[in-house]
Symmetry: C2
Subunit: 119 residues, 2 copies
Amino acid sequence: MAIGDVEICEHTEVHQERVADLLRHMPSEDQLYDLAELFKVFGDSTRIRILFALFESEICVCDLAETLGMTQSAVSHQLRILKQARLVKSRREGKLVIYYLADDHVRTIIGQGFEHISE
Amino acid sequence: MAIGDVEICEHTEVHQERVADLLRHMPSEDQLYDLAELFKVFGDSTRIRILFALFESEICVCDLAETLGMTQSAVSHQLRILKQARLVKSRREGKLVIYYLADDHVRTIIGQGFEHISE
DNA sequence: TTAACATATGAACAATCATTCATATATTAA
DNA sequence: TTAATATATGAATGATTGTTCATATGTTAA
């Protein structure tokens, strides 16, 4: 039997307290939602490939499309999502728009993910 | 004009070399796919809430369902996904099944995500 | 101005996915 | 064994999402 010899899933005191304690330490609904939205952005192999490309250096949209073997439109749509998530930024240079990583959280997050799948 | 005064998106040499160089440094298709699949798992607020609950302590399915205000079935389905991604593990204790975090990558990844949305 | 190039974006469609419902499996107690 | 409890899972469904296509916007050169 479990610790304390209590069958905790029959609405005993122990059960109630554990649930209450968990609820006290939970982030807000908004934070949980924002966090899930952020990771959703990482959850697409096209966007992951874009981010890996940006690890090397900043790059214009057409070079990205060529590198990924995708249409300019598809890449542009994904860049928009990455930008809304503040993972990339852009600047215009003449006719071109150059994209680059917004900060280093991206590298850390993808790095940890890479470690996880490599085990 | 850009560095080198070359309009790179009209299939010049510079363009070709940049694309070729990016392709050389890209992870394999399998790795990119696996990485996206991993982050997809983080991209749902129910699963994020489950992981936060597991940050506190290991917990059985019924307590999780009670904490999250969800049906046992819905929680169980999500636990299955977390387990397949090797983010959580489980052990049986009598009638209960106790879930717990598989390793610390989860904490790091969510921690970095939290930093990002908190800025 | 006009033409050419680079990028952005709205709408539509196919594919993916989280939840619900019903039910199956597993464990314990009687 | 049977009953009760805890968990797992297959099928169906509504919602979300990535890509395509067509087109709009923005920039430069002539």
